[in-house]
């Protein structure tokens, strides 16, 4: 299905992984903040070299299958084996495959190889762009890759007629169409929010094209926009990370990263840019296409500081938008309201619930910090497992009936499973204040499925079901109290840990987190939670009145706006970004990034970057 867009993991991981990857297998990186800019840059360049050396060495003499586009791009970035790269490239260009996932690697190879590849290899690339028509795709990450690549190749081969291009359009037409789309997407993102927001994998599918524009666009304005969008994407990531792990609500994640929070392409960027976590296997797969040009980018210090400073607790708010809705909605892009509360020990993040994205939405969780995240399921959350043709018709243009089952064979195997832990629900409403989350569910009879699932990790240090109805847990240095609103049972999970299954349509979850350091003892924490005023009502519709550990009086009723300390909560003033580090007004196209005295303002209306050190 389309649509159902794709990781093309088979392509990513077609490389042999036998050879040790130093940082992937090695000890945890020293997470000390590097103050000296030259040392920080040197460490960054060292990580780039590590990845390039590893991937370049994957190519084995006499084994063409080991010598793919990833190896070529790595070798060309290192300026080695140009003759072998040329020879192999000629072969690979005879049978292109991969659509937009083919376009950007080949674009990088061509630009890196302009003064290295043989004329014959360049001609083979040129011919492939005439004869092979890639799919344009159906999501914004597809279009970012497609149009950034087409923009750069049309720039490289100007003044050519339509007969020389796969789509019959001239160089000028391709250049202008690509430019127009990219400007459109940048404006949309910087005024009403990113559509595929805060993705643990797809962050790469946006960052790589933007890096290529920042590196190779000849138009200084487009080059500047590419650089600014990189800053924008990475600031958006850095502010919601905990030791490199992308935390909070995600438009898209996957069944693995959902539990093992570190294990996503986003952590590759944490390793590369922040230096505070290991890279994922094979440097995230696509990561190699970022490092191939990464020397042309430098993460601004203000973003580095935001990503690495967890000395203080903060709450970050942001507004995103849903992916484009085609059916079952009166709006094309509905607003997404995100809240993320971050401490050095844990993070709590959420959206407002509902169907905000298809299939891979993750609406809320608590993630705790761990000394080494590899293999650790350092999270707790619940979800209302839902699937429907209605959901898929909203976001895809396919015929309805085959889609749910088809999705399961498109890399999303749990989509129709009752036990699923991934995905949004139209029957879940969420409200977060500080480190408290209240999720209420009201599932109509007959819907898939009339229940709530809760994830309880194999890596919880403590777990106690209390007579009060609370389930008390500890993960790392975080205490987490979890309150199911309806009776439940336990189901084992193949990956370890267990699933709370609460088979009731009127349902929900309350979670309250705290740092271990806030209490003298585990018993004190439990006593404090038990003492919090709490009223739960499930009929006629779920309602919770709860006074949080932070003293906020919350009243949440399914179908109604939340009430905080007696005042009905109003979402209308929600900004694009607000918090101590990132601030932007809806529609402004201007993001202010702040850390301490450092400030960078990205103004997309004037295409300017303004740095200052505040007095």
């Amino acid at each position: 299905m389309k649509t159902l867009s794709c990781l093309a993991l088979a392509v990513v991981f077609s490389v042999p992984l036998a050879r040790a990857q130093p940082s992937f297998k090695g000890p945890m990186p020293d997470a000390t903040v590097i103050v000296d800019a030259s040392l920080r840059r040197a460490a960054y360049l060292s990580r780039i070299d590590e990845a390039l050396v590893w991937r370049a060495a994957m190519a084995k003499p006499g084994e063409p299958k080991t010598f793919g586009l990833g190896e070529i791009v790595s070798k060309l970035a290192r300026r080695e084996d140009a003759a072998a790269c040329s020879e192999r490239l000629i072969e690979l260009m005879k049978a292109p495959t991969g659509d937009m996932f083919w376009m950007f690697p080949v674009t990088a190879i061509y630009y890196l190889g302009r003064d290295q590849l043989t004329p014959e290899a360049k001609a083979a690339v040129r011919e492939a762009w005439r004869a092979y028509m890639p799919l344009r795709g159906d999501t914004e990450n597809h279009w970012a890759m497609y149009y950034s690549s087409l923009y750069l190749m049309a720039q490289q081969w100007p003044d050519e007629p339509g007969e020389r291009w796969f789509n019959g359009k001239s160089s000028r037409e391709n250049f202008e169409e690509s430019r127009d789309y990219l400007l459109h997407w940048m404006e949309l993102t910087t005024t009403i929010g990113q559509g595929e927001y805060d993705c643990t994998h797809y962050i790469g599918e946006y960052a790589i094209p933007m890096l290529y524009l920042a590196t190779w666009a000849r138009d200084p304005a487009m080059r500047q926009r590419g650089r600014m969008m990189l800053d924008y994407i990475f600031a958006d990531y850095a502010v919601e990370t905990l030791n490199g792990m992308y935390v909070g609500a995600h438009a898209r994640t996957d069944d693995t990263t959902l539990l093992e929070k570190w294990n996503g392409l986003s952590s590759f960027f944490g390793w590369l840019l922040l230096g505070n976590c290991p890279p994922t296997v094979a440097y995230g797969g696509w990561g190699i296409y970022f490092v191939a040009a990464a020397k042309n980018y430098e993460l601004p210090e203000v973003i580095y500081r935001i990503g690495t400073d967890r000395a203080g607790t903060y709450t970050h708010y942001e507004r995103k938008r849903t992916r484009h809705r085609w059916r079952n909605s009166d709006v094309r892009n509905a607003p997404v309201y995100k809240t993320t509360y971050i401490t050095k020990d844990y993070a709590v993040g959420s959206d407002q619930g509902g169907l905000l994205q298809p299939i891979q939405q993750h609406s809320w969780d608590v993630t705790w910090a761990v000394p080494d995240p590899r293999g650790v399921h350092n999270t707790i959350f619940s979800n209302q497992p839902h699937f429907s043709a209605h959901e898929l018709m909203m976001y895809f243009t396919e015929k309805p009936d085959f889609m749910p089952a088809a999705v399961t064979s498109q890399g999303k195997p749990t989509y129709i499973a009752e036990s699923k832990l991934l995905g949004g629900s139209p029957y879940e409403q969420i409200f977060q204040r500080d480190d408290t989350v209240i999720s209420l569910c009201h599932v109509p009879a007959g819907a898939n499925f009339e229940q709530v699932n809760g994830f309880f990790s194999k890596d919880l240090a403590r777990f106690e079901e209390d007579a009060s109805g609370w389930i008390f847990t500890q993960g790392g240095n975080a205490y987490i109290a979890y309150r199911p609103l309806a009776p439940y049972e336990w189901k084992p999970l193949e990956v370890g840990g267990k699933r709370l299954r609460s088979p009731h349509g009127k349902n929900g979850t309350i979670v309250q987190a705290a740092s271990v350091a806030e209490f003298k003892s585990w018993d004190d924490f439990k006593a404090a939670i038990r003492a919090l005023p709490l009223e739960i009502r499930l009929e006629p519709t779920p309602r919770v009145a709860f006074t949080t550990l932070r003293g906020k009086k919350l009243v949440c009723t399914y179908g109604a706006a939340p009430v905080v300390d007696g005042t009905t909560f109003d979402y209308s003033g929600w900004k694009l970004f607000s918090g101590p580090y990132l601030n932007a007004e809806v529609g402004s196209g201007k993001l202010t990034i702040t850390h301490g005295a450092l400030e960078r303002v990205l103004d997309f209306k004037t295409i300017t970057i303004t740095d200052r050190v505040k007095p």
Binding site: A8, M100, H142, F166, N167, H184, W326, R327, T397, Q410
Partner: protein, 339 residues
Amino acid sequence: MQTLKSKLFFAALLAALGGHAPIGAAAPKHDLYLSVLLSGPGQIMGGRTPALSGVYRSTDRLKVEHVGFGHIRMFQVIGDPHSADGLYLAALNGVVHSKDRGKTWRILTGWDMTEPKGLAIDPNATDHIYAGLPDGIAVSRDRGATWARMNGGIRRSYTQTITIDRTQAGRVLAGTELGIYLTEDGARTWRLVQPTTETTYDLRQSPHDPKIFFAVTTSSGALWSEDRGLTWKPIAGVPKKHTLHNGVFDPSDARRLVLCGWDAGLLVSEDGGRTWLDRTAGLPNRQIWSVAVDPDQPGRLYASPFQQPVYVSEDFGLNWKPAFFEKATAFNLTFVPRP
């Protein structure tokens, strides 16, 4: 060199193996185009494609040849009234045109138009092309050189199918998410003529009587109009609980209609839609993605059961045999006049 006699022999042999009779000495007036996905429902964009999907053409109803590019989503093929060698495609990449029967292509639409599902050219104003998009309707007045969005008045503008009344230029019906809309001024204004609860997937004008239109929907069953699409009534005997994909007139026989859908199987009517007979027996499943009636061979039907061969029947659905491919999902089966 093969003699005519040997050609006919091999054609007959192939047809017997393939399960259906060749057109024979009388050359068909139309080519059959099949827009198919051959790499299974698990195929994702950007993934390796084990089989070459896209548009296939059969000039003899015996074998098929691949035409153009191998995309996994191609939704409709129509002919070009200005050129016997011309073809238009509604494809995931946009509206695409070939001037040479598929040797070369040009995408006519830009970044702002994705995944057109339906395409129609006004037979009385042949420069005018209408495209149904997931977010509206686009119209070109210059054979696709430029496009404008023209879906004013349509709420929930997802548009799956477009049909142009051949009796009046600029009179167009569109099957959308929430009903059938009509324009009589070339898409400048639209009005709802038949609400539906979900998407209308096919909309056709009778080749025998231009006042008659036939539509199929997701959950409103099949609909019938006898006043050029102004008013509609549900067709009795057609279930509403399944999504219907195609509703087709038999160009050879005004009494005959066919429809198909997901779990709905394949139904035929031989009395102008008054009664319906289930003709799914002989097909491997009831998930019939598309159906077409051969305009050159009375009684011949083609049907595409989900992820099965494309089947053919010589007796209007009484008996079926596999005809093309091993496992296909045919998004569209259509006949284009032969050059």
